[in-house]
Symmetry: none
Subunit: 73 residues, 5 copies
């Protein structure tokens, strides 16, 4: 039943993208609204957004690497 690992790799890769999309999308949506409301605070808002997006990106890439391990097994 090695095929189950390939199935898990595909589904996991998709779910990881959903997580990253929802998370980074949510942060950046609020950041875009914040920049529109206070354009002079752009640097502060953008830095805050990038810190959070990098944390989410780290978990997402970790998850994708696990799926690569499963796919290449």
């Amino acid at each position: 039943m090695e095929g189950l690992g390939f199935l898990g790799a595909g589904i996991g890769a998709g779910l990881a993208v959903i997580g990253a999309g929802l998370g980074i999308g949510n942060v950046a949506a609020s950041a875009a609204e914040g920049v529109a409301r206070q354009p002079e605070a752009t640097a502060d808002i953008r830095t805050t957004m990038i810190i959070a997006a990098a944390l989410i990106e780290g978990v997402a890439l970790f998850g994708e690497v696990i799926c690569v391990l499963l796919a290449l097994k």
Copy 2:
């Protein structure tokens, strides 16, 4: 049961598009509203949007490449 990998590739490719769509869509919707409210902050808002969209796009393309690996196996 190699076929399970093909099933995973198809479902994963679809889930990845859902993630990218929800994420980039959410960011860009807020960006469009922000541009409408503060047209003079268009450059700042658009740069913020593109940074976040590129991060989501990166995870999504990573996920799609995993699905290609599974589909061509």
Copy 3:
């Protein structure tokens, strides 16, 4: 069990359309509202919308190509 690949191709193609539809639809809805509120900012809003829609479209077409690969296998 090659048939599982065909099942994955069908489900994946459908999920990809859901993703692209939700994403581009969300962007364009906000863009349409923005143009209605600030008609003089139409060019800025439209450019913002097209950048984001192109990013979503890219992931979606990648996903559809994977489903074509599975369907023609």
Copy 4:
């Protein structure tokens, strides 16, 4: 039935990313809005965000490590 562990690794890695994305995304969205409303409180808001994001990140990486254990078994 060792394959079930690989399936669990893939699905678990994906779910963990969804959890981290929803959580950190939610915190950071409010942080970005807060910075836009009170730019002079940026340091306080950002520290609060990073404490919470680190707690979520800790659980998420723990979960990913479990999935690595399952994937490499």
Copy 5:
């Protein structure tokens, strides 16, 4: 059917992260908003947030340890 334990370990680890993410994310989002509204109450708000986040973290790590036990069995 030992494989079912591995499947449970993976899915359980992912679900625990979703729980911790939603919970801590919700607390911290409100905390970030509170700090933005009353910056002089930062210490009180942050302590309140950390107490609640630590309680959620405790349950989440307990759940992850159970999944480690299943994964290493």
